[in-house]
């Protein structure tokens, strides 16, 4: 989608780059590299607004000045990159690793931080180190995450917009009428995209009594009495997930309504004072006749749009960070009714 300075001001992007540059200086890094592709777009998007739809790119952040994007996208696509993001210098090259390596060598960069160094594609990495043999590449994933975690106001508004698209799309589901999961996936995706969603992954558990796992469905599959739909929605590079459970029967509808209300209240109350796991366990006790089966919290801390940061199998002991963003997904049984729910939340009382 086209870049809108009212949604994502240039000064916000400049502030984010400055924060990273300050952290680089504290760690005596001469440069910072961030890889991006269709699947791992979020770190570069956070700094520039750029989300690739094809092939791979790498962003170079020097200690001073604007970032440089080297991309395997052709020169013809630069116009689109400039229309959808804020990148001052674009290098179009079939070998982005070589181009950035040459720049590092020319700048005499010695200590170079890399986001998710181990996962860099081998071809790009080989090109990079061949062109910059004197640069020491250092994994700086934690450094980036520390700067990334707290959400600024423009990002908060973009997340709210994505969430509004997800909610509106899920509101299209009429449990009494809909019969086919494939058609339902199309209905939800259509509504999200008509609202401006850049991407929409719709997953459905068509029969919660048989299986609670949510899967991608694009063929006729009958919907049972109780089913769940997850909408993963992107707007201007910001992703949310919403999962809702639906029932055709009165008992199911009542239990679902109670659990939905509980989730809504809970996501507004997540604080930075206690580990998330203990907050979830404590809050689930406030929902009568409910059994917590599993949970997962996701956030955007690196190149993935959303990645698990804690879950029932790996709850962790750390508290969540004030001002950070989470998507909380829960699997409960409420009064004997299976219920899946997921909703975004801002830690520390700033409600959605």
């Amino acid at each position: 989608m086209g870049w809108d300075p009212a949604e994502l001001p240039k000064r916000t992007l400049d502030d984010r780059v400055s924060r990273l540059q300050a952290a680089m200086k504290r760690s005596t890094l001469d440069a910072f590299l961030l890889y991006t592709n269709l699947v791992r777009p979020s770190a570069v998007c956070w700094l520039t607004g750029f989300t690739p739809y094809w092939i791979e790119s790498i962003l170079l952040v020097a200690p001073n000045g604007a970032p440089i994007l080297a991309t395997a996208l052709s020169k013809r696509v630069s116009e689109w990159i400039r229309a959808t993001s804020q990148v001052d210098e674009i290098i179009n090259t079939p070998k982005p690793g070589t181009a950035i390596g040459q720049r590092l060598a020319a700048d005499g960069a010695k200590r170079v931080g890399v986001l998710e160094l181990d996962a860099l594609p081998a071809g790009l990495y080989d090109d990079l180190v061949s062109a910059a043999p004197n640069a020491e590449l250092i994994d700086a994933t934690a450094l980036f995450a520390a700067e990334r975690r707290v959400v600024d106001e423009p990002e908060r508004k973009l997340i709210l917009r994505a969430d509004a698209l997800a909610l509106a799309a899920l509101d299209q589901v009429n449990a009494a009428e809909v019969k086919d999961a494939g058609a339902l996936a199309g209905l939800v995706e259509r509504h999200a995209r008509l609202g401006g969603a850049e991407e929409a992954y719709i997953a459905i558990a068509p029969d919660l009594a048989a299986d609670r796992r949510l899967i991608r469905i694009s063929k006729p599959v009958p919907l049972a009495e109780r089913f769940a739909v997850r909408a993963s929605i992107a707007y201007k590079g910001c992703w949310v997930r919403r999962t809702r459970t639906f029932a055709k029967d009165d008992v199911g509808q009542r239990a679902i309504a109670r659990a939905d209300h509980w989730l809504n209240q809970f996501t507004r109350s997540i604080g930075a004072d206690k580990p998330l796991a203990s907050q979830i366990v404590a809050q689930s006790k406030n929902l009568p006749c409910a059994e917590l089966k599993s949970w997962m919290a996701e956030s955007c801390v690196g190149s993935y749009p959303l990645e698990a940061i804690a879950s029932s199998p790996s709850p962790g002991k750390e508290t969540v960070i004030e001002g950070s963003f989470l998507v909380l997904a829960l699997d409960l049984t409420v009064e004997g009714v299976p219920w899946l729910g997921a909703a975004p939340a801002f830690v520390g009382g700033r409600s959605l």
């Binding site: 989608m1 086209g2 592709n37 269709l38 699947v39 791992r40 739809y53 094809w54 092939i55 052709s74 013809r76 696509v77 116009e79 689109w80 229309a83 959808t84 160094l117 181990d118 996962a119 860099l120 594609p121 081998a122 071809g123 790009l124 990495y125 080989d126 086919d180 494939g182 058609a183 996936a185 199309g186 209905l187 995706e189 259509r190 509504h191 999200a192 995209r193 008509l194 401006g196 850049e198 929409a200 992954y201 997953a203 068509p206 029969d207 299986d211 796992r213 949510l214 899967i215 991608r216 469905i217 694009s218 063929k219 993963s232 997962m296 993935y304 959303l306 990645e307 698990a308 790996s314």
Partner: protein
């Protein structure tokens, strides 16, 4: 629960893969995949990943272990690929790195090698890990009958999808609204994923990209490349429509594109090279004094392979000497910029046969128009 498991195609591929590994003396393959490039992964595991990244270990006896870093993908993989051992690996690279220690002294291959996480590639000598991308490319390019049958199904949905696209196009609509209509149709009709780019406007448009919010207006050319995926296989159609009546210049340009595409398709048969097809397309442009618009400044490729990846090998370019074999599936598309009317596209999908090709695309090769 009904899943989308397609055992016949996968069983065919598996037999072929196991046989080829045995012939080539490969004990195990290390395969990387993500949603952008998932063809090697799909071929060997039958799994198409959406979020996160995957690594798979494929043994010579056909046993597959699939490592996924996204717990959401683990749920789906377990349902869609019951014959595969699925492992949730939050630290994907680290966990597979450790597992690989168990396979020292075996002949290991990896694909696609360029995309392999660098930490694993760094162990190439230690593990006798060889680049086997070309080995798998051969399997990916030349299709089995069951694979071609899936391509035919995907091509039919290209035609149906383009009809939906035309019906959705009208003045005032945003480009993303057209995509919304298509995706809804596809989700309800067996298409797991669709790669689609679009261009809207006139001479200022130099290519196609994801929608940017541009609204259609009278006189605009609307180009699109529609690439639905059915049972893992992508077919593609490229067409152009005009909002309102096409101008004489637009009609003339489209006639040239059609002549070029048909010249390219006429050359396709077993034994020619990718360069032969590209040259046939480009000669038409050169004959009309538009040769410079066949260069990389204006166009990427003159077509490409189709299959488990949107843009599989071979690329149809004058410097690509890959032999074209019967059983390959291609899209021939002389998509490029025209100095008067802007970026224009036209492309049909084909299956290569001994004597020529089978046309998969059924949509007429017209410059379509919609009421302004």
């Amino acid at each position: 629960m009904q899943t989308q498991y397609q055992p016949m195609i996968h069983d065919d591929r598996k037999r072929r893969l196991v046989g080829a590994m045995s012939e080539s003396g490969i004990d195990m393959l290390l395969i990387y995949g993500n949603a952008w490039q998932s063809d090697y992964l799909r071929y060997t595991t039958d799994y198409s990943i959406v979020e996160g990244q995957a690594l798979a270990l494929v043994r010579g006896d056909g046993h597959v272990t699939l490592y996924l870093d996204s717990p959401l993908e683990v749920d789906r993989a377990q349902l869609e690929c019951p014959a595969v051992e699925v492992v949730h690996a939050p630290n994907l690279v680290g966990e597979v790195d450790t597992v690989l220690d168990r396979f020292r002294n075996q002949r290991l291959g990896a694909a696609p090698y360029r995309l392999l996480p660098r930490r694993l590639a760094a162990r190439a000598k230690d593990l006798q890990l060889a680049d086997q991308t070309a080995f798998l490319d051969r399997l990916l390019m030349r299709k089995l009958d069951s694979e071609i049958a899936a391509m035919r199904r995907a091509a039919k949905l290209c035609d149906e999808g383009y009809a939906v696209f035309r019906a959705a196009a009208r003045p005032g609509r945003a480009d993303y609204e057209l995509i919304a209509e298509i995706e809804a149709f596809f989700r309800a009709n067996g298409v797991d994923h669709n790669f689609q780019i679009i261009g809207v406007g006139g001479p200022e448009v130099r290519g196609m990209a994801p929608p940017s919010g541009k609204r259609l207006k009278r006189g605009d050319m609307v180009t699109t490349e529609l690439t639905p995926c059915v049972d893992g296989y992508y077919a593609q159609i490229c067409r152009t429509l005009v909002v309102g009546a096409p101008s004489a210049e637009q009609k003339a340009a489209h006639a040239l594109w059609r002549e070029s595409m048909e010249a390219g398709i006429a050359v396709v048969r077993d034994g020619v090279t990718a360069a032969d097809i590209a040259r046939a397309e480009n000669d038409i442009f050169r004959q009309h004094g538009l040769g410079k618009y066949t260069t990389s400044e204006y166009t990427r490729v003159r077509g490409h392979g189709l299959g488990l990846f949107v843009d599989t090998k071979p690329h149809i370019l004058e410097d690509v000497t890959t032999r074209i074999d019967a059983g390959m599936t291609l899209v021939v598309h002389p998509n490029t910029y025209h100095p008067v009317v802007g970026y224009l596209v036209l492309g049909d999908a084909v299956v290569v046969t001994q004597d020529g090709c089978e046309l998969l695309t059924g949509t007429p090769r017209e410059l379509f128009s919609v009421a302004a």
